[in-house]
C-alpha cells in the first residue's frame, strides 16, 4: 500500500485537510487533490519555474517540494494573488497591460515569483528583475513584456 499522511495546510486563506501520498509533490497535490489547476507543471525538475507558489510568503518550486512538507504551512497560488475584493493585483494588472504573457503557461510562476521579489525589493531595476526571474522560463514572450510589467507594477506599488 502507498505510504500516506493526513495533512492540513492553508491555501489562499482557506484550510484544507486531505490525505497525501508521501511521494506526491506539492504541485500535484494542489492541482489534483485540491483542484487548484492554476499552478502549472512545466519541467518537474526545478528549472522552468512554472510551478512556483508562495510558501509562507516565499517563492518555492512546488514540483521539488513534497505535499507533506507543506503540512501546517500557508500556501499562496496564482488563484490567491488578486486583491481581497477580487480586483487584480497591481502586478496582474501590469501583466495584462504590458502583454506579459502569451500562452499563459509560465504565468503562474512568473506572477508568484515576482510578487515575492517586488515585495522584498520595491526599488528593483531592470537588471535585478531579470535576475529575479532567471529561474522562470518563458518560451513565448522573450521576457520583455514581463520585465516591463514588473517595472511598472513596482512603480504602481510604490506610489500605491
Amino acid at each position: 500500500m502507498a505510504d500516506t499522511r493526513d495533512i492540513t495546510l492553508t491555501v489562499n486563506g482557506e484550510s484544507h485537510t486531505a490525505t497525501a501520498e508521501t511521494r506526491t509533490s506539492l504541485g500535484d497535490f494542489l492541482r489534483h487533490t485540491i483542484g487548484l489547476t492554476g499552478t502549472h507543471m512545466g519541467c518537474e525538475h526545478g528549472v522552468c519555474g512554472a510551478c512556483t507558489v508562495l510558501l509562507d510568503g516565499e517563492a518555492v518550486r512546488s514540483c521539488l517540494m513534497l505535499a507533506v512538507q507543506a503540512n501546517g504551512h500557508e500556501v499562496t497560488t496564482i488563484e490567491g494573488l488578486a486583491n481581497a475584493d477580487g480586483t487584480l493585483s497591481p502586478l496582474q494588472e501590469a501583466f495584462w497591460e504590458h502583454h506579459g504573457l502569451q500562452c499563459g503557461f509560465c504565468t503562474p510562476g512568473m506572477l508568484t515569483s515576482l510578487t515575492a521579489f517586488l515585495r522584498d525589493h520595491p526599488d528593483a531595476d531592470e537588471k535585478e528583475i531579470r535576475e529575479a526571474i532567471s529561474g522562470n522560463i518563458c518560451r513565448c514572450t522573450g521576457y520583455q513584456g514581463i520585465v516591463n510589467a514588473a517595472l511598472d507594477a513596482a512603480k504602481t506599488m510604490q506610489e500605491g
Binding site: 502549472h40 522552468c48 502569451q102 518563458c138 518560451r139 514581463i146
Partner: protein, 779 residues
C-alpha cells in the same frame, strides 16, 4: 462607422483568465471515471523487439491494463498515415502507434499502461520487461549516406529518404561570367519546441452518444481529426478533436502523434476516459525537433559584390520517421534567394534518415536555415571583397520597383514564390538608425581600449506567410445582442481571440467585449487547417472581416426596413442601429437577430435568410511576404568564449498590424528563440543514439538574465494579397536572428580571424576557434 479597433493597442481578451489561474489546459480537465496512462519508450536507438513481458506490470495494484502493439488487435495494427505525401519521398516510413518489432529512436512508444493514477502507471512502466536485440544505430547525418553506414531501418537499403532541388536561372552562365567565386560550408542546428506546456491528451469514446472525443494540446485539431478518422477507418464526423488552452506550440505540436491514436483507442477499450500528459523527459525524447542541417555553398559575384548565382548542397537530417512529409527541407529551399535579387540558384537537398526522434518544423521551419545560408554568403562576399556588409546588401536587395518579384523558387503547393510588396533597403536604413550602427566603430574602439571585444552583425530576411487554402470564420449576432464568432484556427498563445474580436467588433459595430469567441473545436466549426507558418492573421483576418461585413450589411438592410429609413442614413454603434439625424429612431442588433429567428408561425421578413449570420473563407490570394532587417551587437570574452548580446534591433514589416501589442510580442519572443538557436539550444545524441540532453540543466533555453532588451521599429507596407493588407508576424523575429548574432561574433573576433561554421556557438566551440586563430596569427 463606429469605433476603429484595427491598428489599436487593445489589451488581450485572453488575459484575465490566464493571470488569475483560470486557464483550461488539457491537464486541467478532469472527466468522470478518468484513468491515467504512462508510456514505456524505447531505451535503444535501434533494436529488434524479441519479446515483451507485461505480466509484472499488469499485476501491480491499481493497474487496469497494459497494451503493446499486439494488444491493440489486428484491426489497429497498421502504421500511421503520411500526412503530406510527396513524389520526392523515395522511402516513406511512418511509425506504428506502438512499436511492432523494431524500435528506431530512443523514446519511441513501445507500450502503454492504464492505471488509477499517473504515479501507479509510471510504477508499472518500470516493471515491463522488453527483450531487445540491439542493432547498430546511425546518428551522424554527415556519414549516414556513406557505404557501410548502419541503416536506420533494418529493411531499407540506404538512409536516403529522398532528394529535392531548387533550380532556376542559368547557373552555368552565372558562374562562368563571375569575377569571383567564394565557398562556405556550415552546419546549422536547431533544437526542439520546448513549449512550457508539454504535449498531452485525453481520449473518451461514447459510441452511443458523442462518438470519439480527443482533447489534445495541438496546433492543428482538424488535421488530427482527419488523420485519426482515416487511421481508425471511421467517419471523421464521428471524431471530435478539441484543442483547449494550449501552452505554446512552435511547430512540433502541428503534427499527429502516436499518443493521439493510442490514448483514444485505449479509452475505447477501457470504456472510460484516459488521460496522458507528457513529462519533460518524454518531451526531449519523443516530441519532434528540427536538429542538424549541413550546407555547402558556392556564390558567384562581380567585383562590386553583385551576386550572380548560388549553388550547392544541403544534407538534411530527417530523424527516424517521416511524420510530416518534406515540409522542412522544402521550406529550407524556398527562402532562397532571401531578400536579394539573385538570378540563378541551384541547390539540392539530400534528406537523410537517422536513429533520432523524427523531425518537424520548429518556429520558422526551414526558413531560418535558408535565410541563415543566404546571409552567410552575403557575409562571405563582404569579407572577401572588403565591401561593408550593409553595402553588399544594398547592392543586391530586391527593389520596390521590381515588385511583384518572382524569385524563380516554388512554394509548397507548387506555386511560384512572388515577393508582393516591401522596401528592403528602407528597412535596413531604419534598423541601422535604431541600432546606432554608424556610431558602432567608436563604441567598439572604446571597448577595445578596455580589453573588451564588441561586434555587430546585420541580417535581412523575407518570410513567406499566410499559406492557404483558408481559415474560415462564422459571425452571428445572437438574440442577446452578443456576437458569436467561431473559427477553426487554434491558438497557442498568439492572441487570436483578441485579433479576431477586434476585426469583427469594428466591422459589426460592437465592443470587442461583446464577442463570444470559440475556436479549435471540430464540433464548433466545419473545417480548419492549422496554426503553422505565420498563416493565421493573413487567412482568418480576411475571413473574419468578410463575414462581419456581410453581417453588418444584412443588419443594415433589415434595420432600414424596420425603421423605414434609408440604409445610407444608418450607422451601428455599440450594438445599436441608429438613423443619422433622428436619434430616437433605433433598434438593437439583438432585436434584429430576433426578427430573423422568430417563434413558430411567425415569418422571417421577406428577402432575408434566417439568422443574422455569415460564414466566410476569404483569405489571401497568395503568400504575403513579410520582411525584416536585424542588427545584433555582442560582446565576446575571448578567454571564456562567453557571448553576451548587448543590444538587438529589429526593423520589421508585416504589412498592416491588426494589434501592434501582439505583433511586438511575437517579434520579441521570436528573436529570443533565434538567439537561443544561435547561442544555447543543442539537442545532443551520443554515437549510439542516446539523447544526452534531457533536462533544462543540460539543454539551455534563453533566460531573462541572458537576453537583451529588443528595440523594434515597423514599416507597414500593405500586402495587396488580402483585404486587410496583413502579412504574418509569428516567425519573422526568429528567422534572421541567428545570422545576425553569428555575424556579430565574427565581427567581434576579427583579430582572431574567427569564421564560424556551426551554431549554437557555445563557449567551448568558440574558444577552440579563438585558440586556432591566435595560433595561426602567431605563425
Amino acid at each position: 462607422m463606429g469605433v476603429r479597433y484595427i491598428g489599436a493597442e487593445v489589451q488581450r481578451m485572453e488575459d484575465p483568465r490566464l493571470i488569475t489561474g483560470h486557464g483550461r489546459y488539457v491537464d486541467d480537465i478532469t472527466l468522470e471515471g478518468m484513468l491515467h496512462a504512462a508510456f514505456l519508450r524505447a531505451s535503444h536507438a535501434h533494436a529488434k523487439i524479441r519479446a515483451i513481458d507485461t505480466s509484472r506490470a499488469a499485476a501491480l495494484p491499481g493497474v487496469h491494463r497494459v497494451f503493446t502493439h499486439v494488444d491493440l488487435g489486428p484491426q489497429y495494427s497498421h502504421r500511421m498515415n503520411q500526412l503530406y505525401p510527396a513524389p520526392v519521398i523515395e522511402q516513406d516510413r511512418t511509425q506504428y502507434p506502438l512499436a511492432k518489432d523494431e524500435v528506431c529512436y530512443v523514446g519511441e512508444a513501445v507500450a502503454v499502461v492504464v492505471a488509477d493514477s499517473r504515479a501507479i502507471a509510471e510504477d508499472a512502466v518500470a516493471l515491463i520487461d522488453v527483450d531487445y536485440e540491439v542493432l547498430p544505430a546511425v546518428v551522424n547525418v554527415m556519414t549516414a549516406l556513406d557505404d557501410g553506414a548502419p541503416l536506420a531501418h533494418a529493411d531499407m537499403n540506404s538512409n536516403l529518404m529522398g532528394r529535392m532541388r531548387s533550380q532556376f536561372g542559368d547557373i552555368e552562365d552565372a558562374f562562368a561570367k563571375a569575377d569571383h567565386v567564394f565557398s562556405a560550408a556550415f552546419m546549422q542546428h536547431r533544437g526542439g519546441c520546448h513549449s512550457m506546456e508539454t504535449r498531452g491528451c485525453i481520449g473518451r469514446d461514447d459510441p452511443w452518444g458523442d462518438g470519439l472525443t480527443l482533447w489534445t494540446s495541438a496546433q492543428s485539431p482538424y488535421l488530427i481529426r482527419r488523420a485519426l478518422g482515416k487511421w481508425l477507418d471511421e467517419p471523421e464526423e464521428r471524431v471530435r478533436v478539441i484543442a483547449p488552452d494550449v501552452g505554446g506550440g512552435f511547430g512540433p505540436k502541428a503534427g499527429f502523434y502516436p499518443e493521439e491514436i493510442v490514448i483514444p483507442l485505449v479509452a475505447r477499450f477501457m470504456e472510460r476516459p484516459v488521460k496522458w500528459i507528457e513529462d519533460r523527459r518524454e518531451h526531449f525524447m519523443s516530441t519532434t525537433t528540427q536538429r542538424d542541417q549541413h550546407w555547402d555553398l558556392e556564390v558567384a559575384c562581380t567585383s562590386e559584390g553583385k551576386i550572380l548565382g548560388l549553388r550547392g548542397k544541403i544534407t538534411h537530417e530527417n530523424g527516424a520517421f517521416v511524420p510530416y512529409g518534406i515540409l522542412l527541407p522544402n521550406s529550407s529551399l524556398t527562402p532562397l534567394p532571401g531578400a536579394y535579387s539573385i538570378p540563378a540558384i541551384d541547390v539540392g537537398v539530400d534528406i537523410v534518415f537517422t536513429n533520432t526522434v523524427p523531425n518537424s518544423p520548429v518556429r520558422g521551419a526551414g526558413r531560418p536555415n535558408g535565410i541563415y545560408a543566404v546571409e552567410r554568403m552575403i557575409q562571405t562576399v563582404s569579407r572577401e571583397l572588403g565591401i561593408a556588409p550593409d553595402e553588399v546588401r544594398r547592392r543586391n536587395y530586391v527593389r520596390p520597383d521590381q515588385m511583384p518579384y518572382e524569385t524563380g523558387a516554388t512554394l509548397r503547393g507548387g506555386v511560384p514564390c512572388v515577393y508582393d510588396s516591401g522596401n528592403y533597403e528602407a528597412l535596413l536604413d531604419k534598423v541601422l538608425e535604431l541600432a546606432d550602427y554608424n556610431d558602432f566603430p567608436a563604441r567598439q574602439a572604446a571597448a577595445r581600449a578596455e580589453g573588451r571585444y564588441l561586434g555587430i552583425g546585420i541580417s535581412s530576411c523575407i518570410e513567406d506567410t499566410g499559406m492557404g487554402p483558408y481559415e474560415g470564420t462564422t459571425v452571428r449576432v445572437e438574440a442577446s445582442g452578443k456576437v458569436a464568432v467561431r473559427t477553426g484556427a487554434a491558438s497557442q498563445g498568439q492572441g487570436h481571440h483578441t485579433m479576431i474580436a477586434m476585426i469583427v467588433a469594428e466591422q459589426v459595430g460592437v465592443s470587442p467585449e461583446d464577442i463570444l469567441f470559440e475556436s479549435a473545436d471540430t464540433a464548433k466549426f466545419s473545417h480548419g487547417v492549422g496554426t503553422i507558418g505565420s498563416r493565421v492573421a493573413a487567412n482568418v483576418g480576411p475571413s473574419a472581416f468578410d463575414a462581419a461585413t456581410q453581417v453588418r450589411e444584412k443588419a443594415l438592410k433589415l434595420a432600414a426596413e424596420v425603421l423605414e429609413a434609408s440604409e445610407a442614413d444608418l450607422d451601428i454603434e455599440d450594438g445599436v442601429v441608429r438613423v443619422n439625424g433622428a436619434p430616437d429612431l433605433s433598434i438593437t442588433l439583438g432585436e434584429l437577430a430576433v426578427q430573423l429567428s422568430p417563434p413558430s408561425a411567425m415569418r422571417v421578413p421577406a428577402g432575408f435568410d434566417p439568422l443574422l449570420e455569415a460564414t466566410s473563407f476569404d483569405g489571401s490570394s497568395g503568400s504575403p511576404i513579410a520582411c525584416g532587417s536585424n542588427v545584433a551587437e555582442v560582446e565576446v570574452d575571448p578567454a571564456t568564449g562567453e557571448v553576451r548580446v548587448l543590444r538587438y534591433s529589429v526593423a520589421h514589416d508585416c504589412g498592416v498590424m491588426i494589434n501592434p501589442i501582439v505583433v511586438k510580442g511575437q517579434i520579441e519572443g521570436g528573436v529570443v528563440h533565434g538567439i537561443g538557436n544561435a547561442l544555447f539550444e543543442r539537442m545532443i545524441y551520443d554515437d549510439q543514439g542516446q539523447p544526452l540532453t534531457t533536462n533544462y540543466g543540460e539543454y539551455l533555453l534563453p533566460l531573462a538574465s541572458e537576453m537583451p532588451r529588443i528595440d523594434i521599429t515597423h514599416m507597414e507596407t500593405p500586402s495587396p494579397l488580402n483585404s486587410l493588407g496583413v502579412k504574418g508576424a509569428g516567425e519573422g523575429g526568429t528567422i534572421p536572428a541567428a545570422a545576425a548574432v553569428v555575424a556579430a561574433i565574427e565581427n567581434a573576433l576579427e583579430d582572431f580571424g574567427v569564421e564560424i561554421d556551426y551554431y549554437p556557438v557555445d563557449p567551448q566551440y568558440l574558444t577552440e576557434l579563438i585558440d586556432k586563430g591566435a595560433a595561426e596569427a602567431a605563425e
